[in-house]
């Protein structure tokens, strides 16, 4: 098979190398390829992001690359993908030193990267997205028959059960993620970097993705896998490479490590906390939801929230959890049901009304729903509390300053200057800004939708501490997370939301994590 090209099913030669996944079974594995770095260093003004890091990744394996925010792991990914040029040291692919000036060059040499943010065009079909800019032609016209045949072929090879004619906007996030990987693999890369591929996926989607990654391994690809979800690493990764504060800490086979080992490598010494004992729940009901329903989203949801209580809602993606929270907060409408705050019914809620009633809501999608990226950290911290920092119509700069400083110090937000754009902060610090924005409104009830999404373990612990601290002050919280172990750690009480209905209520002490997952997913 010259050039690694492989005829399509109908015998025609594709115009570019098409990945083949049955070669491994046929025993035609190429020689093993390796991606190495030799004392790679990246210096930014004021910080050393990578300090003489030497690592090596072999093909046919999934290599977990771990480190908290600021550990240098993102910088390393960017150096491999050509987005960042190193200050010193070398990248070596199959023994040859590489020098990439832009992502295009890295891509040409066979390093493909699939980022957290998806880059598919929603208005095009799956096949068009995969072959964007390089569709097979028949004269001046696109050869649609071949385009779809080739795409279907690729999809089948990777075991992805999505029709090539499907429009991308009809796909779920998980399906789009898989198409993104199929697209990357259609270039037949030597290295595939996956940056947080599961952060937005539900459990069953993760299973499908893992099935696909296992197939990729057989194709002799070097897979570099970055994830904040530690527990999934034992399922998918073969080795684990850890960076901390720009230094290489170590690399070990995944199966030889325990969760504790990995955390030890990532953070040095950090204890994993459980819910403190001093958090008490009063009898007073601060929020009551009665028979809330929204067509095709959730049905007949009823629960009570007590003063100081931290209530968890366990639900997979598609369970209606985000829709439920948004309806309670008035951001979306609902068809039936009643919402009572402190015993008083709120008719046709809007975010404005609910804010006045003492509710606060931190959305799941930090970038698009919670923060104003064009505005400063300062402005983002006072967005919900504009009424409180103003006298009449005019903003009082001294009150504003007080509000900003209070959150920066209480929440330990790491900022150089509060006038910088909020987008300059790390994910964890951005999340703290979102929380701080709402704490400034003196809320009685905080609603957290996936508060720990895409932030490191340390920042997660800080968010939990904040939730507990609010509980001590008598502020109640509702928290949704798809990482159910977090709910066990944080909450007083857990409701299970499945297919839009509450199917159970438990105290965290009554449940083990696998039981909770089983209950939320149902069936198995």
């Amino acid at each position: 098979m010259p050039n690694g090209r492989r005829p399509l099913q109908d015998g025609r030669q594709p115009p570019f190398p098409v990945a083949s996944y049955d070669e491994a079974e046929n025993g035609e594995v190429d020689h093993m390829s390796t991606l190495e770095t030799n004392k790679i260093t990246k210096i930014y003004p004021g910080t050393v992001a990578l300090n003489e890091v030497s690592v090596s990744f072999e093909s046919g394996k999934v290599h977990a690359l771990l480190g908290k925010n600021g550990s240098g792991k993102s910088t390393l990914l960017k150096i491999f993908s050509g987005a960042v040029e190193p200050s010193g040291g070398q990248v070596i692919l199959d023994g040859a030193p590489m020098k990439f000036h832009n992502p295009g060059e890295a891509f040409e040499k066979g390093i493909a990267t699939v980022y957290q943010e998806l880059s598919l065009v929603p208005g095009l079909t799956v096949a068009e997205n995969i072959f964007l800019g390089r569709m097979p032609m028949k004269g001046f016209m696109v050869d649609w028959k071949r385009t779809y045949a080739m795409a279907q072929d690729l999809l089948k090879d990777l075991g992805v059960d999505i029709p090539a004619e499907e429009m991308v906007y009809n796909l779920s996030v998980g399906q789009a993620q898989m198409i993104e990987i199929v697209k990357a693999m259609s270039f037949n890369p030597k290295v595939l970097q996956l940056d947080e591929p599961t952060s937005a996926l539900a459990k069953n989607e993760i299973e499908a993705l893992f099935g696909m990654i296992r197939k990729l391994k057989k194709k002799n690809v070097i897979i570099i896998y970055v994830s904040h979800r530690l527990h999934e690493l034992w399922e998918i990764a073969d080795s684990c490479t850890v960076l901390r504060e720009g230094h290489y800490i170590g690399k070990a086979p995944m199966q030889q490590l325990t969760r504790k080992d990995v955390i030890q490598m990532m953070f040095g010494d950090v204890e994993i906390r459980t819910r403190p004992d001093d958090l008490t729940v009063a009898d007073e009901v601060v929020l009551e939801v009665k028979g809330l329903s929204r067509r095709n989203k959730f049905q007949d949801v009823s629960f009570q929230l007590r003063k100081g209580e931290v209530l968890g809602i366990a639900g997979m993606l598609g369970s209606g959890r985000t829709e439920l929270l948004k309806s309670i907060f008035g951001a979306d409408s609902f068809d039936k049901g009643e919402i009572y705050c402190n015993g008083k019914q709120i008719h046709t809620p809007t975010p404005e009304k609910m804010k006045k009633a003492g509710l606060a809501f931190t959305p799941e999608d930090r970038k698009h729903e919670a923060l104003i990226q064009t505005a400063s950290i300062k402005d983002n911290l006072c967005m919900a509390s504009l009424d409180l920092i103003a006298e009449g119509s005019f903003i009082r700069k001294n009150i504003e300053k007080e509000f900003v400083e209070r959150q920066v110090s209480d929440l330990q937000i790491k900022v150089a200057d509060v006038n910088h754009q909020v987008s300059s902060l790390s994910g964890g610090n951005q999340q703290k800004v979102v929380v701080g924005n709402w704490l400034n409104t003196n809320p009685k009830i905080m609603i957290f939708d996936e508060p720990t999404r895409g932030i490191d373990v340390n920042a997660k612990q800080q968010i939990f501490q904040i939730i507990w601290e609010q509980s001590r002050k008598g502020i109640s919280s509702i928290m949704v997370s798809s990482e159910l172990e977090e709910l066990l750690e944080v909450c007083h009480r857990i409701l299970i939301l499945k297919d839009g209905q509450i199917s159970g209520e438990f105290a965290p002490e009554e449940l083990k994590i696998d039981e909770l997952y089983a209950l939320s997913m149902g069936g198995e």
Partner: protein, 346 residues
Amino acid sequence: MKTSTSTSTSTSTSRSTKTPPLLTLALKKNLNKHVLEIILLVIVVAMAFASSGFLTTDNLLNILRNMAMQGCIAFGMTMVIIAGEIDLSIGSTVAVSGVIVGLVSGKLSSSGILPIDAAVVVGIIASFLVAGLIGYFNGWILTKYKVPSFIITLAMLNVVYGIAAVLSKGFPVTTFPSWFNVFGAGEIFSIPIPAIILLAVFAVILLIMNYTKFGRSVYAVGGNPESAHLSGINVSRVKIICMVVVQLLSALSGILLSSQVMSGSFNFGKGWEMIAISSVIIGGTSLFGGIGKVWGTFIGLIFLGVLINAMTLLNINEYVQYIVRGLLILTAVLITTIQLMKKRKS
């Protein structure tokens, strides 16, 4: 003694080697920040040498007077653009408000219902009302049916132009008492009244955008409407108010214009939306919303005004002026965009 001198010389040398780069850095930063102001300054200085008539009080006041009417609209447009919207219909509002003042005052006084002076006041109120309604309509369609403001106001540009033409039957309306000329042509301490009104509008909009809750929510709504909504800000209300404000300011301009020329015509205000939008954009406001400065619009206005004035003084052919103006708008926008890109990178 000896040691102390040696240390003092060593510190002084280290300081002297350190100071220049720091100074140039600070200078460079400031240069970057105020590049538009600097270019403006260069033009002014160059013009002072090129034309003796340029740097005179009369001419400078003339520039302000010439930009005053479009300028009032530009400040409203700044709010609209920061809120992430646009209003292309303002030129027609300029026309219709002059026509309405003329018609209402003419009809009321000729039929003997009101004396002409009171009738003009009623006419002015009527034109503000109509402009406010147009703005409310734009904002309502925009927020209720999520139609892009570009399209709504493009449609309204035609509708309102048509209304102005129908109302005036295609003829200029000239039923104004002579004192009405004061607004557009009068002076206070030899400063043209339109210039004073421009500065007042500038001050008020600056105050609103920089120091009030409402101003802050305009930035929020333009930066990310979803986040603003989920922060409990009434996004629709903010957008509608912005659309109304720009229309009211357009009516103000229309009244000033008809006062200046003592006539109202459906042909007034043609293409003013482009001048207003240009000065906003030259001033560094992003068409994507959320980013912008009222001060920038002021500089943008002066920039355009000085440029047009300079070219006229230098006897540059009117058609060539269009070319230069267009290219300069593009250059100014490129400068601000490149700066923004650099900022993003660092």
